[in-house]
Structure formats: C-alpha cells, structure tokens
Symmetry: D2
Subunit: 349 residues, 4 copies
C-alpha cells in the first residue's frame, strides 16, 4: 500500500490522504480499482477522526483506492469553499487515474453528517467533470434548515436533486437528535421523484455520529441498535450493484442502472414505462396495436367489455412497468421486441 | 407444535391458521411467547401462499406463536370487511392468551403488499383493543391512490397515522413497479411527523412480491439485490428491541420505546425535548435557571456575548435533545435530575 | 403445510412427525423438495424438545420437507433398535417420494448428541437403500467410549467410516464436558482418511445441547460464543453445495462431490490425483510422456538437472492435485484433456 | 494512521510494516490497542501480497495496531531464521508498547500456509518473552511431512504443542491439494490433548491460498464455498472472547480462558475437573463427603444401590465437569463453594 498526504488547497488547509493498493502482479485480475473519497463530518467545525480512518479500512478491504478529504472548516467553510475542495480532489484523482490504478468512471464518495452534506453537494452541485458515480450519505445534513444550523451559507440539497444526480445509498438513525431523520427522508423523496436509483436504511435508534457502529469506534455506552453496523457491508454490496465487481481483467457489468427506468433520461426505448410511451403521440402510435391486443386478451381472460380494463384491480400497474417487462410478461418473441426497439429509437431522428 | 385452522368468519371465508409452540417443560425459561399474525398479500384478490408459510417459519424460529390470517377477498373485500377479520383474529388471540401461552401485550403483525395495507390498517384504524404492538410492512400498499388501484373502498393510511399508531418496521424495493416505493416513503414521513418509532429499509432493486428473498421462495430469474433477505433477521432483531427478548421466566425490557421522545404523549418529564419544555410557560419556568447557567457556561467556553448562543453552529440541537440527555451531557448529578423530574411531574396536578 | 404424526414402530414407541410443504402452484419452479430427518438427542434416554421443533423451522425455511424421528429409548434403545427406526423412516420417506413431493436422492439427516450418534449410524451402518445423501452431526456422540457412556450396546462410529459414508457437516463446542470434542475430531479424521467431503466447525465455547443457539431455545445464562448460531445457515448453504439449490423446475447441479477426488471411488479418470494415476502401471504408462514434458519444462524454468525436481520446494504437490487441475495449470488444450480422459477410461475394459 | 516500514534484519531482508492507529483524543475510551502480526505465506519462497495488505485491513477495522512481518526466504529460510525474525518483531512491538499504544499482553499473530507454519512456530517454539497471546492459523503447513515439502529444515509442530501453547483459531479447506487438511486436524488434535482452548473451521472446498475469500482478493474463477470469507469476522469475534473488547478506558474481561479447565495448569481449584480432583488423594479427601452425598441423592432420585451410579447413562460426565459447574448444577450455596475453594488452594502450601 502507498500512503501519502497531498495538500489540496493550503489556504483552506484542505488535504487529501491517499491509501493506494497494488494493481496487477499477484492481483492478476485487477488492473484498475474503483475509488472512494471519504468525507468526515464535524458540523463544518472540525473533521472527525472517528469518520476518517475507520471508514477507510472497510473500503480498502473491498478493493478500493481510498482517499480522505479534509476540507475548509469554520470561517473558511463559507460556501462554496468546501465544495471547491471536493472538486479539487475529484479532478486530481481522475487526472491521476492511470498512474494510481483507478477507473475514472467509478469514483464514489461517502460522507457523514456535515461531510454527508458535502458528499450530497458533490452529487448535486459539483461541476460536471467532478460528479461522483455513486454517493453514500450517512446521517447527513441535507435540508436547508439543518444545513444553516451548522453553516449559514450552506445550501439545502433535496431541492437540487435532478436527473444528473448520481445513485445514492442513505442511512440514518430514527432518533438522531443532532440531525433529524427528516433530512434523509426529504432527500430520498427527491430522488424518488427524479427517478434516480437509491437504497436507504433508517435504523430504529443510534446516537448521532455512530460511524461504523463497531466497538472499535463507538464508546461502550452508545445505544446503537444491532443493525447499525450493517450499513458498511450493505453499502459495499450496493456499490458492486452500481459499479460492478472485480472480474477477469475488468469490472463486471453493474446489476442496477442510474435510473429506475429510462423515462428520466428522455428518449424512447423498451426501458421506458408503458405510461411514458403512451403519453407521447409518436410512441403511442407504435404501441397502440400491441395495447389493443393485450386489452382484448385480458378481456377474454378476465371478462368485461372493451372499456372495463381500467376498473380491473391492478390495471394501473400496466402503465408503470417498462415495455421490456411488459413484453416479457406477455411472452412476446425476441424479434418483436427488437422491431419495437428499432421503431422507438427511430422516432427522434 | 400444535397446528390448527380456525374459521373466523365463514361469510368472509376468513380463517386463522395457528402454529403454537410449547411453553415451559424443556423450554423452562419461556412461560409465554409473543405472537405474530402473518397477513399475505394478493391485491385483495387472493392470499399468496408465497407470503404465508414461508413467513411463518422464521418467526417460529424466533420463538413466536404464529398465525396466518386469511381474510375477505374480491367482492367480499369491500371495506371494512378485511379489517373486521383482522379484529376478529386479534381479539381471539388476546382472549386465548393464557391457554395459548401468549403475552397479550406483545402481539405483532406482518403484512405484504395488500396484506401490508391490512397490517397498516390494523396499526392505525382498528379498534383500541385490537391494536397490534408492532407492525412489519413489506412493500405495502399504503397511499389512497395505490389502495384504490386494488380495492376502491380501501382507505389511504399515511393520513391516519397518529400518536396511537404502533411502532413500525417498513421495507420495500426502490424499483417496485406494482406498488411504488412512494407508498413506503409517505408512511414513514407520517410516522416521523407523529413522533413514532420506526425502522425502514428500502432495497435498491427487487421485483414486487419478493417475500423472504430466499431461493426457496423466489424464482431463480428474480432480480433481487443481495440485501433483500436481510429484512427477515433485521425485523426479528427490531422486534426484540420493541417487545423484549426471552429472559429468565419473562421477556427482557425493550430497548426502544413507542415514541422517539415523550413530546407526542403529552405531559411533562425528563424525556421531553428541551424545546417542548421551553414552549410551555409552566415547564419553562422550571427550566429557566438551568438554561441560563448552561448559556453562561457555553459563552465562557466558546466566547460571545449573552445573546450570541443562537448563532453558534449546532446551537439549535439543544432544543431537540431530551432534558435527560441534556443533563447527562452536562454531567448533572443524579439528584438534580430527580428534583427536576419531580417538579415537572407536579405541573399537571 | 401438512402436519402429521405417523407411528413407525409401536413397540419402540417410534414416530415420524411430518411437516410437508406445497410444491407447484405459486411455487411454480419447485416441483419437488429435498427432505430432512431431524433426530433429537437425549442420551438415548429421552428425545429433547429443544432439538426437535426448533430444528425443523429453519429447514422448512430452506425449502425442505422435514421430519422429526422419535426413536427407541431407554431399555428399548438396545442396539440396533434405534437404527431400525431410522431405516423405517428413510424407507417410508423414499417410498412416498412422489406423493410427498420429495427427491428421493436428496434425503439429509441432522442429529444432536445421542441423536448425532444415530445420524452418524445412518451414514455409516444403515442398509444401502436407507443411506442419507448428507448428514449434519451436532455435538455428536461418536466414539465407542462415549457411545457406551449412554448406551452400552451402541457402536463406535469413526471406525465404520468408509467410501460409502455420505458427506458430513460436523459442529461441536470445544469445551463440551458432556460429549468431548474428541468425538468430532475422531470422526472427521476418519472422513479425511476415507476421502469423503466434509465441513466442520468447532466453536470455542458453548455448553452441551446448544441446539440452534437462538435466544428462543437457549436459556439466557448459557455461555454460547457468538459463532454458535452460525451452524444453522452454514449447514443450509453446505447442503446447497452438496444437493443443489432450487432452480427452474429442478435442483441446480451440486458444487461439491461426494469425494475430494476420484481416488476413493476406484477407476481411472481426470479426477484422480496424479499420484494415484502414477501408482498403477496402466495409467502410469499413459501419463508418463506428459510428466516427462512437465519435468523438463520445470527444469528449464527453475534450473536443476533431470532428477532435481523432487527436491524443489512444493514439488510433492504435483502428486496430490487431480490430473484435471494439473492440465488446467499447465494450460493444456481441451482436446488433449479429452484424449487423456478417453485413454484412462479405456483401461478398465 | 501512521505507516512505517522497519528493517528488522537486513541479512534476512526481514522487515516489519507498521499500521498504527490513534489512541485517545476522539477515541476517548481507547487508551491502548491489541496488536496483530500478519505473516504471509508463500512456501518459504516468497511473501504473498495477497496475504499481506488484504489481511491488515480487517484487523485495522477491528481496532488493532497491525504489522506485516516479512521474514527470511528461500536459502535464508533455513531454520530457525524465520522464527528469529518473528522473535525480533515480537520483542520490538512489546518494547514499544507504550509509545505505540499497545497492550503488550494482547499480541496476536495470523499466518497463512507457510506463514501459518511460522505463526504456529511462534505459538509453540518461540522464546517465552516472544510468545503470542493468540494465534490464527490459515490453511497452515503444520506437520513435519508437509513442512519438509517446502523447507527441509522446518520442524513439525503438532508434536510441539504443550500447556504453554497459546489459544488458536484454525481454518482450512477440506480439498486443499497444496497443504492437506490433515495438517490442521493434527494440530487441533494436539491442542485438544493439551487442554488448550481453540476454535476451528474447515470449509467444504476452496483452493489453497483463499486469503480473505473476498472478490477483491480471489480471482473470479476460484471455487470458494460461500462460508470461506466468514473466518475473518469469526476470528475477530474469537479474539474478543480471548483478549477482550474495547471498554471504557480498558479492555473488557475475556469470556474464554487459555485452558478448557484448570487441569492443564496444575494446582487445585474449583476450575479443575472432578475427575482430576478425585485422582489426587489430597483433593479427593476434601471432595469425598460431597461426592457421597451427591451419590446418595442420585440413588434416591434414579433408583439403584450404592454402587449402581457408575452404570447409569451419562454417569461418566460427572468426572469431566469442573467442580464449579458441578456445584452450580447441584445448587450448592456460594459459601460452600468458597470454603471448598479455600480448602483446595490450601493443599499446595
């Protein structure tokens, strides 16, 4: 392992502590690694050591090149200074991707409390070339109201979520009195509305700042519920779903996409929902014959006249599934799917 | 084990399938057991076998007396018929508590999809003597919009949450196209506002109806993310937190209460938040000297004039913590806490 | 689920309690299930309830048809009465395989303490048509010395292990004062010598009779180390490796065979070790040219004369790997492997 | 974290790579940490990188100060050179205990393959001031036969186990063709005979050199059974049992002792087995009245004459339990236990 501390911005006293692992050699199937930037919390007043090294270790175990970002604090934390520090870190890591054995399109970020605010800012507000590919937000400060409790100039973030926000893994404690759980709920609500993939875990109880929940970090009198430590392994498995796992000389294909379906991205494909495709006259024209046939078949099976479908229990689901799912349910042949795909793709040109 | 099927309501074709374990004898420390009612889903059209027996087994392993509720379906599912079936089941179980080796105040419910709607109805709408003590809601139908997709007369439930709603454990899949995840988010938002304890897990991806996520229930082509099966053990651990675990002849004390703090319950105690106590002139009068001393001490430590406290980063937290927490942070002696408790309790009389 | 108690042998007061799950229907991909016979312990004096139902539940969760065998006890336990009861059970289950939705070649057995002695007897001494396909032995009585402490006529079992013994999963506690851990070590030593697949877990500490180690079975003052409950899930995963998992209309292929390599089974194939093939003049003749080429190549790479190979560190390993592994290491083409396989198979005829 | 490489013995090219974590400060309850020496394998020919850094990370997560020992290899590996390197490392770490924030009596060692041979040598053959307090042996070379396959001068270790050997955690793969599982079985047999605490896990299948079994270390085509990665967390939990966990300013009390009972240590106490105490005339004289009373009581309960006890099923157990356990079973009052303890302790003086 190579351990190194890099000064990012002396004025901000911002640094990047690097933990870089070997690629190749005995790790023959690993030619590059994904990267993780760890952003400790501390109310923009300090960087908690309890959310620095102890977070690094499990991501090293998971095979990441890991970096701790220490960012502008206290009076220097006036916005957007901390975000600039993040951007400096992301640009440095991506520019060094070849030297440091990193996949530049597999850069994740994990932040806690105020560091979670900075991580979520990276996910929603950073320059396009600095955006992380996945973000883990631990008991994060996210709403404007909460952000202003710690740094008056820091922005509220749920309202900044849009289709360019990366997939997120959120965790929090229900009874956190320092940063209310409503922060996490508001952010996942925004992700839901924007069609972004996410995973979230809200644990019944744990004091603010639980970090990994391990006995090596948490004082023995902390009232953590037994599920708290699960976020560590769960987030690592989630990252495999989003970024892929170590395969034979390259990462495996991700199992989960950026969006829940293709609607948020625009365009027309089998991965759009039926409802989306039926709402545009051009794609509706392509789907119409299929929908009529399906309706007729359903009427034969379930009874009812031509218009009765809407009243059948569960009929609304048909608009929410993707066309690809629908064709699979209906047992449509592969060629039919390919023809539809071609027809849909042709719309835009 | 005693296995028995009881007819609850022949008109509804409602039944209760009982799986009752031994108490006492070789299970010397177990004199009674908590109980679990399993409510399968199926869009109020059928009761899924995949959400019946396979759910029973892990709760039997966890030591529960377990019951499957099969309730009014299809045309008979007109509201409130299914809720009446639940109430019949709950009343029967509580009335038989002694015979069946059950703690009547430790009755939980677990429901899936439409069965989750019924479980959440039990938690919010059932008669006072039928309320469960904890509810597990799996990819549940909860919003009015979603409920009406399956049964036009079924009520929306997030708006029914109040301080008498029991603690809940929710899980769902982010990309469920049958029952949108917004159902689960809306319900947890309501629980949050009402001050009710909860735990929630939203998994990145799984098709609707994942049940336990075990290979013994899920078809091999189901795209469940690896965390899906965790809800089973996690909910069992959560139930230990809420209802206690098997101890020496009785259940241990729960680690987690009904409410996040005492504000929702009304009254005055050390378990109210400081903000709540400061908002009522009677409790404010009792707290005032303590708050002034704390303010003065903080000013000495952090600098700033008498009024500057409000602007200090994190100062708002002081209103959100309970008085008990605050006294602990401040290192106040036990007697001081007891005197305050007595003074607060005396307010109401 | 169908629950039924069958009298196996009224004279022995032997019974089989059946827990049979649905196949087909909503469990569309499950046309049959593997079966598990649970054999409680109790020193051949009683059948412990703590090792009956609580063991059934997790194997039901895992998708098994599960049976509790209650066998001849006390004066009736004179050998081979209990083994006869097991044989009656195994024959009944296999004869009913079609009716009960069971794969007759996927019958496993799990026994505890004296029930572990009976399970291991099933694995080593039962009639050929009654042999289980996998056995789980929990803190089992196995050595003659220990067996005689409980039932004077019961045989010692490590000495009965041979190539027809089924694969075994063993677990025990290091500090068991009732049944010394040496029982488990002696049996796994015998399995090792016979070339049989096994898995074993010896936990640092737990009192005899820990059962599942769950708080629903274990009294709160029991000193179980935290790993004890792991045997349940671990044995279920092991069974998937040995018998396959639920696939699409049939079980998947096992990942692990009966033997560590093909030597124990006799015959000649790529799955024999190189040492075994070199020890018979017929197979040696086939291998000789390959071995010489490999030796020459190694000498070129590592230095040393023609005879120096034997002294090179690790050279003995070459005799222990299977020929299949060796060809893979050497990068031999698939056709070469097939020609060798054919030549080896031809020896016997 | 402080990262540093120290030259231990330039002639051997032996080095110690240090990963030292903060104590105190934000880790207020951690004033010192236990230490772990990681010893990679490689047949005494090289030190595998796959068994170096990837082993360090989880023990850092667990709160340890961690060190990689790179030791004398190839021609320099002539015995006892590697053991001398270990001794240099152990002495250095213990001498720096105060500076480096380490409990000198909580020094563990983990070794793999040939590194497991060196770790087991540390546990059995090193100088008294260098002995580790716990040893983790992963698919270790242990028998003389196996040791000589890699280094002709390396000793066989099962025969070196005695009462001064530290508690061990062993894991291995059943089908390891490089280092046969018989190595691990032989060593645990020796520990069993010597009365030493241990835990062992033999997994059904995994190729030699599985390391942590994580996808970040293991090539994607490795046939590891699903339990292989469990050794990491299991060994960390085992270490908590043996060395204690982080408490409030000091480590908690270990839950498990060096010996299974006090017999191996010599002397007389309640922690000796009844059989041991009955075999020495001095302690026998003290126990005799109690044993007679117990015999009489048992005869009353179970029937039988004065001499019939020996023939009662399970009667031999009474000699294997400790006197402390026996008094607890019998419900003897605490004062009686204290009087016996005093009488036994008085024997030796």
């Amino acid at each position: 392992m190579i351990y190194e501390v890099i000064n990012l911005n002396p004025e901000h006293e911002a640094t990047l502590t690097c933990f870089r692992q070997q690629v190749g050699g005995e790790f023959g199937n690993i030619v590059k690694r994904p990267a993780m930037i760890v952003i400790p919390g501390g109310g923009y007043q300090f960087c908690s050591e309890r959310e620095a090294d102890p977070i690094v270790f499990p991501f090293l175990s998971a095979g990441y090149q890991v970096f701790i970002l220490r960012y502008a604090l206290q009076k220097k934390a006036v916005w957007p200074n901390p975000l600039r520090d993040y951007e400096d870190a992301a640009r440095l890591i991506r520019s060094k991707a070849d030297d440091w054995g990193i996949y530049p399109d597999k850069l994740a970020v994990v932040g806690f409390s105020a560091g979670g605010h900075l991580a979520a800012s990276a996910a929603t507000l950073s320059a396009p070339d600095c955006r992380p590919n996945a973000a883990i937000l631990g008991y994060a400060v996210l709403s404007e109201e909460s952000a202003h409790e710690w740094e008056k100039t820091a922005p509220g973030l749920p309202e900044m979520v849009d289709k360019d926000t990366c997939p997120c893994f959120l965790f929090a404690s229900r009874n956190d009195s320092m940063v209310p759980v409503s922060n996490t709920i508001a952010f996942m609500t925004a992700l839901e509305k924007a069609g972004i993939s996410f995973e979230s875990h809200i644990y019944a109880f744990a004091p603010h700042g639980a970090s990994t929940g391990s006995s090596a970090v948490t004082p023995p009198d902390a009232l953590n519920c037994s599920r708290v430590p699960h976020w560590v392994d769960d987030s690592i498995e989630w990252l495999k779903d989003m970024l892929g796992d170590f395969g034979d000389g390259k990462m495996t294909e991700p199992k989960c996409g950026h969006y829940v379906n293709a609607d948020a991205a625009g365009g027309f494909s089998l991965d759009n929902t039926v409802g989306y495709l039926m709402s545009d006259p051009r794609s509706r024209a392509i789907l119409a014959p299929i929908m009529e046939a399906a309706q007729k078949k359903a009427n034969e099976q379930w009874g009812g006249g031509e218009d009765s479908g809407e009243d059948r229990p569960g009929s609304a689901v048909g608009m929410r599934i993707t066309l690809r799912e629908g064709l699979k349910f209906a047992g449509a042949p592969e060629e039919a799917a390919q023809q539809l795909e071609a027809a849909l793709k042709a719309i835009e040109s």
